[in-house]
Every structure is written in structure tokens, then in C-alpha cells.
């Protein structure tokens, strides 16, 4: 953990693609044990920000640090788990083999991977389908496999891109419980979502993006204090107000 105790620190970050400014002067901080929802319309810059947090993309301006280090450093990424929005993974593998593969990539030995795999498949509800090829999985099942691979290295920071996509109501409840238990263990969770209801239930703080700029940042508890009945109203009001 960095000396400041922050899992992610983004300071004045901008990123341009051609003439499009995908992220513009973004600053935010995520502490250990905190859950932050990253909201915004399509093309608001959420995924670009996530890629910079993962070290997949370098910021044009500003600085991104994860646990006080460079996110492109493999040693830093060893403490990070990531679930992408849509990934078909390797259709010819089954869930167990997928986790064994990613475990190897994380540098975990076979025994450790096996030990963790059983628990993870159980916790995401894929234990019964563990030996089925991923190509036979539904979207929700692939999403759950994605959650399992993100948790495989027991990360201190979990970065999730649209984690609720494809999950049925029961799976959403299980997912929320899983996230809460991770938060209780001091893990930091940073996720983007269009599911405002779920975000409100899960998050300590939210950041709302519009056209690359952060137009709101605050705690979910604060929303009620503002007299808003829910996050959806705040979201709409914020976006309409930030023209």
C-alpha cells in the first residue's frame, strides 16, 4: 500500500485520441476498503480512465498511480484484478482451465491456483458448470467467469467494467454480497456502470463523467443529504446541469 493509503490516485489526467479529448483534467482518489462507482453516458471517458488505471494506456497529461506505483509495472498489477465489460475469453477452455491459465499468467503455482479455483467457482456460482466449455456459457455465466478470473490473484484493488451486464437478479444479489465481503476485507473496488440502482446500493462514493470531464464526485450518503431521493435523479440533474 502507498504511504498515503490510497489504492488509486489520478491527478489532472487528460488523454486525447486524434481530435477527441476522451479524458479531460480528471482527478480522483480511491482509498483502500472503499467502493467507488464510475458513472457517465457512453463515450464519457470511463473505459479510457479504467485502461489508464490498469496501465494499458498511458495518460497524455497528468499522473495515474496505483498503490503509489506505476500501473504498467507488473509488480503493481499483481495487486490488481480486472474484469472487462465484454470478453468472450477462450471458447475452447472450461472455467477451471481458464482460471488455471490466468493463474499461470499471474505467476501462481498450480497448487495455489487449484486451491483458489474451487472456492472462486463456488462463490460465483459456476461450480456445476466448471467443466463445460466457455463457448456453451450464457452472457451472465461468462460475466461470472470474468469475476472469478479477476479475483484469482486475491487483488487489493478490483477494477470492474460494467460488472452487472448480463447478470440475472439472483446473480446480482450474490455479486453485491461478494463485493461487500471484499470491501470488509479492505479491498478497494472501482467500477464503471450504467446500473444506477446497483451502484447506489454498493458504493461509498460516485464520480460522474461527461464528455471526458468529471462533473460530480461525492459520497452516496451525501446524495440523500442533497435532498435527492436516489442516484438516478442526481445523475440526470448533474448531466443536465453540466452542459
Amino acid at each position: 500500500m502507498s504511504s498515503s493509503g490510497s489504492a488509486v490516485e489520478i491527478e489532472g489526467v487528460s488523454r486525447t485520441f486524434g481530435s477527441v479529448k476522451a479524458v479531460d483534467g480528471l482527478s480522483l482518489k480511491l482509498n483502500a476498503g472503499e467502493v467507488m462507482g464510475f458513472l457517465g453516458t457512453n463515450g464519457a471517458g470511463k473505459t479510457t480512465t479504467i485502461k489508464m488505471v490498469l496501465g494499458l494506456l498511458a495518460p497524455g497529461e497528468g499522473k495515474v498511480s496505483v498503490f503509489g506505483g506505476d500501473p504498467s509495472d507488473p509488480a503493481v498489477r499483481a495487486r490488481v484484478g480486472y474484469m472487462p465489460e465484454v470478453a468472450t475469453y477462450y471458447p475452447y477452455l472450461n472455467a477451471r482451465e481458464l482460471l488455471a491459465f490466468y493463474g499461470g499468467i499471474c505467476g501462481l503455482d498450480a497448487k495455489m491456483v487449484k486451491d483458489r479455483t474451487d472456492g472462486l467457482l463456488e462463490s460465483v456460482g459456476l461450480a456445476d458448470a466448471a467443466k463445460r466449455p466457455l463457448k456453451t456459457y450464457s452472457k451472465g455465466m461468462l460475466q461470472r467467469a470474468g469475476i472469478a478470473q479477476a479475483l484469482l490473484n486475491d487483488p487489493d484493488l478490483l477494477v470492474l467494467d460494467e460488472p452487472f451486464t448480463g447478470l440475472d437478479p439472483l446473480a446480482r444479489i450474490h455479486f453485491r454480497e461478494l463485493m461487500r465481503s471484499l470491501k470488509e476485507r479492505g479491498k478497494a473496488i472501482f467500477f464503471s456502470s450504467h446500473e444506477l440502482g446497483e451502484t447506489e446500493l454498493l458504493c461509498d462514493r460516485v464520480a460522474i463523467m461527461k464528455k471526458g470531464r468529471c462533473v460530480y464526485q461525492g459520497s452516496v450518503k451525501g446524495i440523500a443529504g442533497d435532498g435527492e431521493s436516489n442516484l438516478e435523479r442526481l445523475f440526470l440533474k448533474t448531466l443536465e446541469g453540466a452542459k
Partner: protein
């Protein structure tokens, strides 16, 4: 170092699982058996010429099949990862792009070499079943063929970073098969051409991978003996240098590629 070994092992295993689970390897094995078994059973009535002809056909099939496997393994290294977006969770893991590239190359190479070894076993079986024997230069021929497979996998790995899997497969096949059959004649072809075209053909001759350097089929079939040790060493060095250049270029492309 232990982490790197585990990462490479995971990537090698993935390559083998991919070969095994996709039906192309079964199709390939069936095709190999369907063509090799009749060759082995064919009775050339003691005619040395007919026996040599069968050997030549068998070796051409070994070359064709191994090229199919090498390019097939190489073409799937990166392009499908980008298309399916699995490259993101992969690169979000604690592995550098350089290590990923090396690991993927080693995985595809291991799969390709295993298939090549299998085809040579089939070839050997077909020769023995016909009552034939092996000349000492077979080891040299096999070593050169393995070096060629390393070059083919590196070429298709580079292609998989810059184009789709199908385009990569088609272009690499054209380049390698073209050089295999016509490479040695390119200087001759260039002589009667207009200046600009002549330079183009000469440039292709200078830079294209010379698949024909690795081909010892005629020597094996006709019993002409092995190549000189120095020539063998230079060709192996050529393969090594070419593979190194291709992988270095691939590393540069992967590093600069926007995700």
C-alpha cells in the same frame, strides 16, 4: 525467473489446448494418416525410382502439413485476442508485453514442433514399411525443417499483430510457399524485367524469408548426401537472425499498439 517459467508454461499449455480442442488438428491428423498410409502400403515392385517418387510425395506432404500447423498456430496468437478483447484481462495481469510475446511464441513453436515431429514419425514409418532405410543426412534435414518452422511461426506472429487471422494466414502462405518454390529463381526472373520491377524482385529476394534454404528433400530422396557443415551453420544462423528480427519487430509493434 520462476514467475516467467510459470507464465510461459501457461501460454504453452494454452497453445496445445487450442490445437487439441479445435477440430483442425484432428482434420490434419486424419488427412496425414489418409495420405501417409496408402504411401506406406504402396508396393513399388522393387523399383528404386518409384520408391523415391513416393518418398518425395511423402516429404512434400510433411512440408505442407507442417506449414499448415505453424501458420495456423501463429495466426491465432494475437488477432483473436484483440477481436475477442481477451487481450485486456491478459495484459491487466502481472505480465509485461515482452514476456507475453515470448511466451506466446514459445507456445506456438512448441505446438508446431510437436506436429512436425509427429509428421516425421509418420514419414519414417511409411519408409520403413516399404522396406526402405534412412540416410545419415535425415537429421540435418529435420533440423533445418524445425528451423524453418520457427521462422514460419515468428512470421505469422508478427502478422497476427497487424492484420486479421485469415489475412495473415493467406499472406504468410503466399510468401512462404512462393519462396519455397520460386525463391531460388528470383534473380533470374529479375533480369528480363523493366528496371523498376527488376528492383522490386531483387528487393523481395533480399528481404523475403528464403524457405528454399531449408529444403533438403531432393538430397534425401536421391541420396545426394548432406550439405557442408558450414552451409548448414550459415542457414541455421540465417533462421536465428530472421526469427530475432521478426520477434523484435513484433515487440515494437505490440509496445506501440494502442489498446
Amino acid at each position: 525467473m520462476k514467475t516467467f517459467a510459470l507464465q510461459v508454461r501457461a501460454l504453452v499449455k494454452l497453445s496445445f489446448l487450442e490445437l487439441w480442442r479445435r477440430n483442425d488438428v484432428f482434420a490434419l491428423v486424419l488427412l496425414g494418416l489418409a495420405l501417409m498410409v496408402p504411401l506406406a502400403m504402396a508396393s513399388p515392385f522393387g523399383s528404386a525410382g518409384a520408391s523415391r517418387y513416393l518418398d518425395e510425395v511423402a516429404l512434400l506432404l510433411v512440408w505442407g502439413f507442417s506449414l499448415f500447423v505453424s501458420l495456423g498456430a501463429g495466426q491465432r496468437l494475437f488477432a483473436p485476442e484483440f477481436e475477442a478483447r481477451t487481450i485486456y484481462p491478459l495484459l491487466a495481469k502481472p505480465i509485461s508485453r515482452g514476456r507475453l510475446l515470448v511466451g506466446k511464441y514459445v507456445g506456438a513453436l512448441a505446438a508446431s514442433w510437436s506436429a512436425l515431429a509427429f509428421f516425421y514419425v509418420l514419414f519414417a514409418a511409411s519408409v520403413l514399411l516399404r522396406g526402405g532405410s534412412f540416410s545419415s543426412e535425415l537429421c540435418q534435414a529435420v533440423a533445418l525443417h524445425f528451423a524453418f518452422a520457427a521462422l514460419a511461426v515468428a512470421l505469422s506472429l508478427l502478422g497476427s499483430l497487424v492484420m486479421s487471422a485469415s489475412a495473415n494466414y493467406a499472406l504468410c502462405s503466399i510468401a512462404l510457399i512462393g519462396m519455397f518454390f520460386f525463391g531460388r529463381n528470383l534473380p533470374e526472373y529479375s533480369e528480363g524485367l523493366p528496371a523498376a520491377l527488376s528492383w522490386l524482385v531483387k528487393a523481395v529476394y533480399a528481404f523475403a524469408p528464403h524457405a528454399e534454404f531449408f529444403d533438403m528433400r531432393q538430397r534425401l530422396v536421391h541420396g545426394w548426401g548432406g550439405v557442408d557443415g558450414l552451409v548448414f551453420a550459415v542457414v541455421m544462423l540465417y533462421a536465428f537472425a530472421y526469427v530475432t528480427a521478426l520477434l523484435s519487430l513484433a515487440a515494437l509493434v505490440l509496445r506501440r499498439r494502442r489498446l
